[in-house]
């Protein structure tokens, strides 16, 4: 008997979308949070290798004194593009990918609150980075004035200048829209019983990060819009010859730039607070304190910007204010490090790859934090400013900090996403090689900076030769080690041993994501889960 379709059948179909579209439509028209999260993560991975190749060019040129591989203009383009790609193309999209995958599953929502906006946020990115990377092929070369885009230098960028400015606008729009989606999802889509003060700390750290993004990305957009009008429409916001003030650009830029550092690192704090309790087999020590510490770091990040500009010159009161406010950040950060350590204290620790990366993060990020304290002291900063000491400092924060945080998160949740466990032994090899080489790469840069080697130069005095060679060897080793990471992800997608629903069965993972199957169903929670 033929089945007659009724209005009720259509209503039934509307409520049960049975799975993903097939072929390219699944990805181009994606509204599913997992599909969009996957696209973000793949995009970030590609950009990580593109930015990494640029780092290899930089370290190859610096392997020994003298100019051997590239001309100085191209070298400066490499440093500028490496930074822009790693910050906006690799780390930020990786965090957004993790947020897309995990936040709906952790708060018990069926999807992100605004799925179409989510699709739009992602698809802006490939266009933005195609535009940015295409500047490598314009006659004037890619932007070479540093990622900070200080005028008047950045205004001399030739044809690439407006392309880079437009690309930055697009990246900013993507970040703002993605952040709005995160805030709206967490504030409105939590399942019953998932309260603000019992949701996973990854959600908390992302919620605070999203607020930071919404407040600061428009500031960067405003700054580069003013640069654009200075260049093309005869305004003089930053042009001294027209009565403008180039130092104002630095103030505006760093009002964005310093919170940006925390945008890159706060989600890693959230991931640490997930992983360390799991593999310590203990609840997190001081949940509430962790939330308040994250919020305090975010607040303080708005009032420290001028510590990047001590050498520009400012009144003594300004120097004191920015020194003290910067040092105050160490208090909530110290609370976090103390709480992670206290979580491990007398715990039953095991050292799976996510935990290894978390421990490495804890030690090495703290080294970056300590060198940051040194840079906060005005007379010391006068010596260190624009030297390789600064390069070592922020790379310790961003590589074993943000990047290891991402890797820890991927190793933690990858079996949940794919349904397959990765090769644990190979992942430990990846950890050890990364941790050893990242120190070989960046620790000698402290010595170079303290000895006076300036940053952003393709050639240097022979007195710096030895440590530069060591640093370059570390860079090549670190770069090659990351091929293992790509292989492990690929092999987990292709399938090895099946992962259980809880994945880390002999540890104690908490959270709603572990109640779902591995891999989770296409629509995570069709009915709101009950939090026990």
């Amino acid at each position: 008997m033929a089945h007659e379709h009724t209005a009720d059948d259509h209503a039934h179909d509307d409520h049960h979308d049975h799975g993903p579209a097939h072929g390219w439509r699944r990805w181009v028209y994606a509204t599913n949070h997992k599909d969009i999260g996957t696209m973000y993560l793949i995009f970030a991975c590609v950009m990580f290798f593109v930015g990494g190749l640029m780092a290899m060019v930089i370290r190859a040129e610096l392997f020994k004194p003298g100019l051997q591989l590239v001309d100085p203009q191209f070298f400066n383009s490499m440093t500028t593009m490496h930074a822009l790609i790693m910050i906006f193309g690799a780390v930020m999209p990786a965090w957004t990918g993790l947020a897309n995958w995990m936040i709906p599953m952790q708060v018990g929502a069926p999807d992100m609150a605004l799925p179409r906006l989510n699709n739009f946020s992602f698809w802006i990115l490939p266009f933005a980075f195609t535009l940015l990377l295409s500047t490598l092929f314009v006659p004037s070369g890619a932007p070479a004035g540093g990622w900070t885009l200080y005028p008047p230098l950045s205004l001399q960028g030739g044809d690439s200048f407006p392309m880079a400015i437009f690309a930055i606008h697009l990246m900013g729009a993507s970040s703002i829209l993605g952040s709005i989606n995160v805030v709206v999802t967490i504030m409105n889509m939590r399942a019953p019983g998932v309260g603000l003060l019992n949701m996973p700390l990854f959600c908390w750290s992302w919620l605070i990060t999203a607020y930071l993004l919404i407040a600061t990305m428009p500031v960067l957009a405003g700054a580069v819009t003013m640069l654009l009008t200075d260049h093309f429409f005869g305004t003089s916001f930053f042009s001294a010859s027209g009565g403008g003030d180039p130092v104002m650009f630095q103030h505006i830029f760093w009002f964005f730039g310093h919170p940006e550092v925390y945008i890159l690192i706060l989600p890693a704090f959230g991931i640490m607070s997930e992983i360390i309790p799991t593999f310590s087999r203990k609840p997190l020590f001081g949940y509430d304190a962790m939330v308040y510490a994250t919020a305090a770091i975010a607040f303080l990040s708005f009032i420290v910007w001028a510590h990047h500009m001590f050498t520009v010159g400012m009144p003594l009161a300004g120097q004191l204010f920015f020194t003290l406010s910067t040092m105050m950040i160490s208090i909530p950060t110290g609370v976090k490090v103390f709480n992670w350590t206290a979580t491990m204290w007398k715990g039953s620790l095991s050292f799976e790859p996510p935990m290894l990366f978390a421990l490495s993060f804890l030690f090495l990020f703290t080294i970056g934090g300590f060198s940051g304290l040194m840079l906060a002291i005005v007379p010391a900063d006068f010596q260190y400013h624009d030297t390789y000491f600064v390069v070592a400092h922020f790379h310790y924060v961003l590589v074993p900090g943000a990047v290891f945080g991402i890797m820890a998160g991927v190793y933690y949740w990858l079996p949940k996403w794919t349904g397959h466990m990765y090769d644990m032994k190979l992942a430990k090899w990846h950890f050890w090689l990364s941790t050893i080489f990242v120190n070989v790469l960046f620790f000698p840069q402290h010595f170079l900076g303290l000895a006076g080697m300036p940053r952003r130069i393709p050639d240097y005095n022979t007195q710096f030769a030895d440590w530069n060679m060591v640093s370059s060897i570390g860079a090549f080793g670190f770069g090659l080690s990351q091929l293992l990471f790509a292989y492990l992800i690929f092999s987990s997608i292709r399938g090895r041993a099946n992962a259980s629903d809880k994945v880390w069965d002999d540890a104690t993972p908490h959270g709603l994501e572990w109640t779902l199957s591995s891999p989770p169903p296409y629509h995570s929670f069709e009915t709101a889960p009950e939090l026990k």
């Binding site: 609150a113 605004l114 906006l117 703002i176 952040s179 709005i180 989606n181 805030v183 709206v184 504030m187 409105n188 889509m189 919404i214 407040a215 600061t216 990305m217 428009p218 500031v219 957009a221 405003g222 700054a223 819009t225 003013m226 305004t235 003089s236 916001f237 009565g243 403008g244 003030d245 104002m248 505006i252 009002f255």
Partner: protein, 43 residues
């Protein structure tokens, strides 16, 4: 059933309202900083 629909509508309204407010905050920061630049160059 009616209560469930009303809850769904409420959530939809809250989602839109939150998104709109956050969008306005972003626009305010963008225009505000440009306005500050304009005011500073006027003086």
């Amino acid at each position: 059933m009616a209560a469930a629909t009303s809850g769904h509508d409420d959530r939809k309204r809250n989602v839109r309202r939150t998104a709109l407010w956050l969008g306005l905050v972003a626009v305010a920061f963008y225009l505000g900083f440009i306005a500050m630049g304009v005011l500073r160059s006027v003086h």
